[in-house]
Amino acid sequence: MADIQDWNSQMRRGLLELCVLALLEARPGYGYEIVTSLAEADPLAASEGTVYPLLRRLRRFGWLETFWRESDSGPPRQYYQLTEKGLDRLRQLEAEWGELRRSVDERLAYDRRAPAVTAGGRVPVQKPQRRSR
């Protein structure tokens, strides 16, 4: 069980960056808003202790920038918004994610019943088939 948790955790880390950039593509957001929005996406839910440092890291890379904006309900908030460089990064990650997902889906859709191990110990190569849904 611990292995699965570790695996989940590792997967989420990489995806979190993509999701934060994707969220901020639509409009700028402040810390609490970003954290709660990501928490709504249950499988991706990450602690504040992960999201806030990630925001600073993305800012340091120049993918995000910050500005202050007055709040209706209180003191000003620090907002994060995507930079041009951040947009490029988002496009790269989207492309990578698309490729990765397609590749993994193809592997998962592979018909496992068909291949039989030959005398030489090799599994005959078959064209991947999609599962019928």
């Binding site: 948790q5 989940n8 993509l18 709504e40 996406a41 992960t50 990630l54 600073r56 890291r57 120049g62």
Partner: protein, 236 residues
Amino acid sequence: MTSGRTTRSSPERHPLVARYVEQLEGELVRSGIQREEIIEIVADIDGHFADAQSVGRSLSSTLERLGAVRELADAYTVALAVGMGLEGSGSAGRPRTGRDWLRRATEGGRLATLASLTLVIGGLGVALLLTGVVGALAALVLPFVPSRLLDPTLRAGMPQLVVLAVAALSAAVGRLSLRLVKLNLRSLLLGFRRLRRARPDRVATGQTDRDRRLPSEHGSLRPTVHRPAIETWQRR
């Protein structure tokens, strides 16, 4: 786009929140994170408490979600140390001062180079300082030494004022070198501390101990981006 250094700290802040934020600030300072960065981090966390309170979230729940101060500080340290490793790291810009340069050098993992540099500059500094002190003493003492005791080359040597000036210059350069060594040593210590904190598995993933526990709280991961949450965000 980044504007003034405003914090959202409010006078009616709960004592627990004040303590949490103060401790976080202390940890971040000890981690060697730049002051400007710390101000903005603290503003984020301070604002997080204020926003959570404004939507009626309990303080205990907010504290629980944020995790231990030390873990949060470590996560920031790791995240920012990783951030330094990339070329052209945006907002951080180019190092402007010697201190910035040294900090970059340690964060970039060039500790060996910095250690060698420290040794060379330190050796040079000590030599120059000693030369300066000995030269100045000699220049001051020589006029009182009977000329018959002096070597003829010394008697025909440079005038006393020139010797004094050269000695003072040498001592000043030596002292400057030693100050640079002191700065180097501090940066080296910070670098080593960061390396110790940034365990390899954490550097690779930016992962905290807290995240290792999270999956059990939030169920399993499905390999799809959760569109509804993003759509909700875009509609707001």
